[in-house]
């Protein structure tokens, strides 16, 4: 029972470019199972966790994530999430979850109006989600960001609600993009859909500068294994 591998579905939209990295980390580093889910499919192929990886789905020519939400796979993901299934959106994946209304708020262009790729220090605000249970509350972790639209925005009263319900999961120590309340990652009210701008898959192998991201995947696997 304890060694059963958890199956992660990695969604591939045209223009997704972190699919192979995410697949690699799940399979070779976290040592769980990974399958690709093509955007035109409606079948999640037995995935126990669905990951929407980073990239530029459909080129992001309209608005980041704005077109991907109409893909057939998104309907399946919505159903899966409504049933309590774990969904993790990373970077462009987070933007897609916002556009699809699975998470609240919107992404604006970075305050400096430029793409930023660098390591950031984050604080884990909520260590009780299925994706963060292997972290400590208040722990400082290092993960890279790589985006031009990562400036999180939400109306004031909804922001207050997010905070009150402890749904801010990761916060930047030094705000790189103008995000309200330094928000780097949020979870839905049901506690099963996490969106985050930093890339945990890029911080999962020591030689790449940090292993702090790996526990995001390990937490999700542990949660599913034990539930």
């Amino acid at each position: 029972m304890g060694n059963r591998k958890i199956r992660f579905g990695v969604v591939v939209f045209p223009g997704t470019n972190c699919d192979r990295d995410t697949y690699h980390v799940i399979k070779e580093v976290a040592e769980e199972e990974a399958v690709y889910l093509w955007h035109r499919e409606r079948d999640l192929r037995g995935s126990q966790v669905v990951v929407l990886p980073g990239g530029f789905s459909y080129g992001d020519y309209l608005r980041s994530g704005a077109i991907a939400r109409f893909s057939p796979i998104m309907e399946a993901i919505r159903e899966f999430a409504e049933g309590g299934g774990l969904v993790l959106g990373i970077c462009n994946g987070f933007q897609i979850l916002l556009e699809a209304g699975l998470l609240p708020g919107a992404m604006l262009r970075n305050k400096g109006l430029r793409f930023i790729c660098r390591f950031e220090e984050l604080e884990v605000e909520n260590a009780e989600t299925p994706f963060t249970l292997l972290y400590e509350k208040g722990e400082r972790v290092k993960m890279p960001i790589a985006h031009i639209d990562g400036n999180y925005f939400i109306e004031p009263h909804k922001l207050a609600l997010l905070e009150r319900e402890k749904r801010v999961v990761f916060r930047y120590r030094e705000n790189p993009n103008g995000s309200l309340n330094d928000i780097a990652g949020i979870i839905n009210r049901g506690g099963n859909i996490l969106g985050m701008m930093p890339h945990p898959e890029r911080a999962s192998e020591a030689e790449l500068g940090s292993t702090d991201g790996l526990r995001t995947f390990l937490s999700a696997a542990k949660y599913v294994r034990e539930s």
Partner: protein
């Protein structure tokens, strides 16, 4: 009716070349045919001025799989094929910086995946005019965002590069882009048509009017009316490129094609005629089947368009439908637009009517070659520049590290996604790029180097020094060079002086490469970097690939701990001519370039590689350009600890601290260091300040924080107001 003279001028062909075309055809060419010769015989496509000289370069080596003549070169590393090439997009980047640079990235990416390799890294060599001038800032800003705007969506990390500034680049910036890909050794594809009777499949973006005569534009000087050339610059679509790449790699993996060539310069014409030439066959093209983006395009425009994100493939017999299905899955149009034939002729048809009929070889193989007259360039031998004017090393150091030549490049590289693909072991700015090959302990090390200030003073020596510097960079991570690619940027080759610079540069490269026994695997020549008669300094850009035996043990700043020793390895000469010190501190250019003894250089590199592989080095850095002190300061920024130095010099202090003698390296290591080259312990890693006692006197005492601020502020202060 346009006169013939006017027509030839518009096509950048000489009267002699026109006569030659008439002789080949036995008649007058029609306008379409004239267009074909114009692009295929352009300097950009035919290398007509450079070919006789390029032949002198060594192209054989123990790791070589494919040398010059294909879309890219290939060497073997750790049982894999490493495919790589550098190419210029200088002219388009001046006319339209964002699109010029973006499509430069797109073009070189296609060169790599056309060979069957998945691109794993991009590097750039960028040269602009001084940033005091707003026009130069606008060009730089456009180029940097163009590289980011294309490379980031495609998902290929831009892992390294170099940027520098000289007056002459104000009207002719250099944008040279290098791409590296990895393939299985038996998975390489070539631009060869195979045999007669096979279908030519066009895949990718529809053809538009953009870029018609781009190759011809890159083969002439700019005058005052360059603004009008905007129509010649192509527009890039990285999203389509990404899909094209995935689909292309899939048809290759399923073994459905015989040959493939991307439609780069001279588009459909060059891709089809070059594949036919290499395969010893002919081609027929049915131009009315080519997908078009604009209405009313004629055969001339279709053949010459340089629209981006297009590929031409020779399908295996009977595989056309399967190829189309794969492209369709990725949302890319694929259409049969022609076939290979026996007769070795290049024929194009429009609705059944022939519009061009010329021998394939006359386009792709037998373009004219010129032994252009050249004269030996003047060599700047001035010794003893006015280095003695500034004796305050603290002030000099601050000036240098805050100058455009040495200031932190973070503002640039953080706009590039340099981590996607999760192979980037060494982040930009720290040393050569080091990239993992997943599942293996071996890694590849990459560097791209150029120094136009050296080129201006002495083209031949500059070539030798640049090759040596590239290999020394690799040695700092314990990597042995496997091969190089090069981009040779020059003015107008019809001028004997410029041609002389070119010939000397080739001589220098040949000398260095033969000495190190490392081959050239390909590259690019960019002539006509000249505006209103003013040429750029000769600039040889060297992109080198090396093999790291085990990425887990490479030197890196994080390995350096308080208390470790700081050692200078190698030999110091009197090398302040054409240095960063002269430019940044005294505002002077010129002077004799550093002297190099290749035997010493090789010994230093061998010792570095040995020490690294024995695990004795925590971190190592090359000292040129900028010299010892600025490069030491930069290393400390990465390490994030200060240093206490105390040493004596035999040379004048300025030579020792700021001279750009090659064959030197700075090494951080625990304990003592023994090597078969001179080793001088300079001091210890310690505290939060940089303190130096030189020849018994305190010459430096600055908080690292303050130094770092000077180093980091330049680019943000210029661009993020």
């Amino acid at each position: 009716m346009r006169s013939l003279k006017r027509l030839l001028e518009e096509h950048n062909l000489t009267v002699e070349e026109y006569q030659r075309i008439k002789k080949i055809l036995g008649r007058e060419p029609n306008l379409v045919e004239l267009g074909l010769y114009s692009v295929m015989w352009s300097e950009h496509c035919s290398y007509k001025s450079s070919k006789v000289h390029l032949k002198k370069l060594p192209t054989k080596g123990k790791y070589l799989i494919q040398g010059p003549g294909e879309n890219a070169g290939v060497v073997e590393a750790a049982g894999k094929a490493v495919v790589f090439k550098v190419e210029s997009h200088n002219h388009p980047s001046f006319v339209e910086p964002y699109q010029g640079a973006a499509t430069g990235v797109g073009g070189i990416l296609r060169d790599i995946f056309t060979m069957g390799a998945r691109p794993v890294a991009l590097l750039d060599s960028l040269h602009f005019g001084p940033l005091e001038r707003p026009s130069n800032r606008a060009i730089m800003e456009g180029v940097v965002s163009g590289i980011a705007g294309y490379g980031n969506p495609v998902g290929v990390p831009t892992v390294g590069g170099e940027v520098d500034f000289e007056e002459e680049f104000s009207h002719n910036p250099l944008v040279n882009v290098m791409c590296v890909g990895i393939a299985e050794k038996d998975g390489i594809f070539y631009a060869r048509a195979g045999k007669p009777g096979l279908s030519l499949v066009y895949a990718g973006a529809p053809t538009g009017r953009d870029g018609i005569h781009g190759a011809t534009m890159a083969s002439a000087e700019f005058g005052q009316e360059t603004e009008h050339k905007k129509v010649n610059v192509q527009v890039g679509d990285p999203f389509r490129e990404k899909l094209l790449m995935e689909a292309t790699l899939e048809v290759m993996e399923k073994n459905l094609i015989e040959g493939i060539q991307d439609m780069g310069a001279a588009g459909l014409t060059s891709s089809s005629s070059e594949m036919a030439s290499k395969g010893g066959v002919g081609v027929e093209l049915y131009l009315d089947r080519v997908p078009l983006r604009e209405e009313g395009m004629n055969p001339y425009e279709i053949l010459l368009s340089e629209s981006q994100e297009r590929m031409l493939m020779v399908a295996k017999k009977g595989k056309e439908e399967e190829i189309k299905r794969i492209f369709e899955k990725w949302g890319i149009e694929a259409v049969v637009v022609g076939k290979t034939t026996e007769d070795r002729r290049f024929k194009a048809f429009w609705k059944g009517e022939p519009v061009a009929d010329v021998p394939v070889e006359s386009l792709a193989g037998d373009a004219p070659q010129y032994q252009r007259p050249y004269e030996k360039p003047e060599i700047d031998e001035r010794e003893d520049p006015a280095w003695a004017e500034e004796r305050n090393w603290q002030k000099a150091l601050l000036k240098i590290i805050s100058s455009p030549h040495m200031a932190s490049r973070r503002w640039i590289y953080q706009q590039y996604d340099h981590m996607v693909q999760t192979n980037t072991v060494l982040l930009p700015g720290i040393g050569p790029s080091v990239l993992k090959i997943k599942g293996q302990k071996e890694a590849i090390a990459l560097t791209i180097d150029a120094n136009p200030a050296w080129g201006r003073a002495n083209p031949k020596a500059a070539a030798v020094l640049t090759v040596a510097e590239a290999f020394r960079n690799l040695a700092c991570v314990g990597a042995e060079p496997l091969g190089i690619t090069n981009c040779l940027n020059f003015g107008n080759p019809e001028k004997p002086k410029v041609m002389g610079q070119f010939v000397e540069t080739i001589e220098g490269m040949k000398e260095a490469l033969e000495f190190f026994e490392v081959p050239v695997t390909g590259g690019n020549v960019s002539f006509y970097n000249e505006t209103q008669g003013k040429a750029i300094p000769p600039t040889v850009v060297i992109g080198a690939v090396g093999l790291v035996e085990d990425y887990r043990t490479i030197p890196r700043p994080e390995r350096v701990e308080e208390g470790m020793g700081i050692f200078l390895l190698g030999w110091t000469g009197k090398d302040l001519g054409s240095s960063v010190y002269l430019k940044a501190v005294l505002g002077q250019t010129g002077g004799r370039v550093p002297e190099i003894d290749l035997e010493k250089e090789k010994l230093l590199q061998q010792q570095l590689i040995r020490l690294v592989r024995e695990g004795k080095v925590a971190y190592a850095v090359d000292l040129s350009p900028g010299g010892l002190l600025p490069n030491l300061a930069e290393a400390l920024f990465h390490i994030d600890i200060g240093a206490e130095l105390s040493f004596s010099t035999r040379e004048e202090e300025a030579y020792f601290l700021f001279g750009e003698s090659p064959s030197r390296a700075l090494v951080f290591a625990p304990g003592e260091l023994e090597a078969d080259v001179p080793v001088l312990k300079l001091g210890t890693v310690k505290g939060q300040d940089l303190v130096a006692y030189i020849n018994g006197r305190k010459k430096l005492d600055l908080p690292l924080k303050q130094l770092r601020r000077s180093w980091e502020s330049l680019f943000p202060s210029l661009f993020d107001k």
